[in-house]
């Protein structure tokens, strides 16, 4: 693929996000523009409460946009049905799944839901895709385990495998690294990077692991109180975007190491 034939999966134009009630409209962020390409790993970062989850919830159609447009594979998200969306976009949320009694295999197989018949029978093709998803995330040995037996890190991998078995162009993950130790944080994000390379899927995730995201992502979306910036990590560093992310009296960004440190 040459550089000038970009394959855009998700395009956001002049998007404004927030909450609307009968009386008032609360704008969380506005004038958001970005294009996510095929096979890219995109990190969404920003301070607590800045609207990362609101943006993700808007992108996955859990809540409506206030204004602006979202195009998934060239089609307006508003006119996309739930089932069409399910075949193009899969999600991993922060909320726990309702039934921890499911086995890992059953859970990953539920990713085939949009493709199966009225009673959910798995075809040979479905089974191949499910097994492949388990293999990609390296959890084949967990197959028969129940979800309540898993650690947080294992569960996160299982949820990722479920999203993979849904066989979509883009996977959106809301804070996939929370509750994980340092090793598993790096492991999950590295795994996401590997998946974009191996499967050609676009993966968008929100995270507080800014230094890891800088090292691993192709592009990043940085949410600040007044603007939303979208660029490659090295450009974001040279533009000094990360310096203004947090109040500098406590935390400063080190341009040389690409990481934050506490002002002693």
């Amino acid at each position: 693929m040459s550089m000038n034939t970009k394959h855009i999966i998700l395009k956001v134009e002049e998007l404004s996000i927030g909450y609307k009630t009968k009386k008032a409209e609360t704008v969380v962020a506005s004038h958001i523009n970005f294009e996510l390409e095929k096979g890219q790993l995109i990190g969404l970062v920003g301070a607590n409460g800045i609207g990362k989850s609101t943006l993700l919830r808007t992108l996955i159609k859990v809540q409506p946009a206030l204004s602006g447009s979202i195009f998934l594979n060239g089609k307006d998200l508003k006119s996309t049905t739930n089932l069409e969306l399910a075949k193009q976009l899969s999600i991993v949320l922060t909320e726990p799944i309702s039934s921890k009694n499911l086995s890992v295999y059953e859970l990953v197989a539920l990713g085939r839901y949009p493709y199966t018949n009225w009673i959910g029978s798995l075809t040979d093709n479905d089974i191949t895709i499910v097994n492949n998803a388990l293999k990609l995330v390296n959890i084949e040995d967990l197959k028969a385990k129940r979800c309540y037996e898993l650690s947080d890190g294992q569960l996160q991998k299982v949820m990722l495998a479920r999203a993979l078995s849904q066989d979509t162009d883009i996977i959106v993950l809301d804070e996939p690294t929370t509750h994980l130790d340092m090793y598993h944080k790096a492991y999950i994000l590295k795994l996401l990077q590997k998946l974009t390379k191996e499967t050609g899927k676009t993966i968008l995730f929100s995270s507080h692991e800014i230094d890891l995201a800088i090292q691993l992502c192709d592009t990043m979306i940085v949410m600040q109180s007044d603007t939303v910036v979208f660029d490659e990590p090295c450009n974001l560093i040279s533009e000094g975007i990360f310096e203004s992310l947090f109040p500098s009296d406590l935390i400063v960004f080190d341009t040389k190491t690409g990481g934050f440190r506490v002002n002693k």
Partner: protein, 342 residues
Amino acid sequence: MTIKKAYGFQFVVLILVLFICFFINIGLGSVHIPFKSILGSLFGTIDNNTWQVIIKDYRLPKAITAILVGSGLGISGLLMQTLFRNPLAGPFVLGITSGASLGVALVILGSGLFGGLLAMSLISKWSIVIAASLGSFLVLLAVLAVSSKVRDTMAILIIGLMFGSITAAVVSVLSYFSSAEQLQQYIFWGFGSLSNLSWQELLIFFGIYSIGLILSIASIKGLNSLLLGENYAKSLGLNLRQSRLVIILATSLIAGTITAFAGPIAFIGLAIPHLTRQIFKTSNHRVLLPAVFLYGAIVMLICDSIAQLPGSDYTLPINAITAIVGAPVVIWLLVRQRKMMF
């Protein structure tokens, strides 16, 4: 990993057990009838006319009622537990049973309050059935109206419980003004009963039950996706609002008719799904739904056989037996896994 391979043996055993329980249930009663004559009267005619009548018009309808009541309550419990993501949910939580009770209370207890028009002689079996059906149907309409407005499933659960409280309050007010005879009649209805259903009544019962069962089977795929939670289910392409309506409708039809014809029968709806999950070790509704059907039917037949107190002329209230069997099951599950899951 096909379902047939993994669970085929268990299903064959369950179906066999169901047949055995069915014949034991028919075989037991205050009148002793030899097994040969039972089979003879089921599949043809026998010389002893009294036995023939006992089997065909009394014991056989009662055994079929037990199967419908047990399987139906189990299935509606399963549907409610998955939909409301609550291991304690059962047909009672939607207020369906409460609605039926209210209808019956108004007919039996209210007859004194509203004067001579509804004299005691008018309170036939049918008026109780109609009152119970109307009561549960009206609550169903209210729940459906609420569920199309309220997005949160937990809110619907609480609204169902509130219906229960209102019913209890109205019943206590009514009983304050009622005669001892009326109270007794209401209490007897509350005991639950599987007997006294004519073939005609059974046919109506079976018809409505079947519609509910078909809707439940059609919901299997959606129920499985709901195991992940509502947001995940939607992200998989589920039409949440529609599925929720179908599931609630199925439960109301099944639990509503059961309460109308057999009274408010406790614990089966709550305990059977848990028992089944424990034994089948799956959350897949494609396996659970038929398994709950079989377990519910078997347990209800056993409860009914116990209720007849074999060898005596007495019949205990079926509700007491289901609670005695059901409550320990729930306790055992809690102690064993320290946590209730669905």
